[in-house]
């Protein structure tokens, strides 16, 4: 049961962040504009963040889906999500109404909820909890780690 739950979390988190990363990579200018609306990140590194964060999400999502270094990927995704939660909370405290930019272009195409509100905070908190669960998980079903370990065991 625990292994199946970990597998489900891994696929869900991996899929969500892979697609969210891809959606933002396809339009970095829009993501940069969204980051500026947050007025949370320092101006000297905001362009770098707009270029780097989507690729980080994509890479971490990809590794999660593969099941390779997935605990470390989950740890980094948890850290990113905590940063997102802080950014959204700062917007809510200042009483601003903006898009969170979480899913980039995909939000417009698939009509996904994309505003920086309490729903986004709750959603990201769920992602944090899923990530923390995966960090502590020892389950490796349907993962590349398990496959590599088995093939290494056979060759010895």
């Amino acid at each position: 049961m625990h292994a199946k739950l970990s597998f489900a979390f891994r696929i869900a988190l991996g899929g969500i962040f892979l697609t969210a990363g891809l959606a933002k990579i396809s339009d970095p200018v829009q993501f940069l504009q969204t980051l500026r609306e947050f007025d949370f990140f320092p101006e000297f590194c905001i362009r770098f963040i707009a270029v780097y964060i989507p690729w980080l999400e994509f890479v971490l999502g990809f590794f999660m889906l593969l099941g390779l270094l997935y605990r470390t990927s989950a740890l980094l995704l948890t850290a990113i999500n905590i940063l997102f939660i802080l950014a959204i909370l700062s917007v809510l405290i200042r009483g601003m109404e903006i898009d969170c930019g979480c899913f980039g272009l995909m939000a417009d195409v698939l009509k996904l909820p994309d505003s920086a509100d309490m729903k986004a905070v709750i959603r990201n908190t769920i992602f944090v909890l899923m990530g923390l669960h995966l960090c502590r998980s020892e389950a490796t079903i349907f993962s590349l780690e398990e496959y590599l370990r088995k093939s290494a065991g056979k060759s010895e």
């Binding site: 990579i25 396809s26 339009d27 970095p28 200018v29 940069l32 362009r47 770098f48 707009a50 270029v51 780097y52 989507p54 690729w55 980080l56 994509f58 890479v59 971490l60 590794f63 270094l69 605990r71 470390t72 990927s73 740890l75 980094l76």
Partner: protein
């Protein structure tokens, strides 16, 4: 290798992969952003000549 050191290197590896991919893609993509602040040779030259002029004045 102890566990903490292994996790540290894994984090570094993942961050580095994302960094390399993002910079490469940004460099070749038509929608790439200018990451570094603009500092053209013309601008540097004009500011230099201004300072010389002011110095002469």
């Amino acid at each position: 290798m102890n566990k903490n050191r292994r996790i540290f290197f894994e984090i570094l590896l993942l961050l580095l992969i994302a960094l390399v991919l993002s910079l490469l893609y940004n460099a070749v993509s038509s929608t790439g952003l200018r990451i570094l602040p603009r500092s053209t040779p013309e601008k540097a030259l004009s500011s230099h000549s201004t300072s010389i002029t002011q110095g002469e004045a």
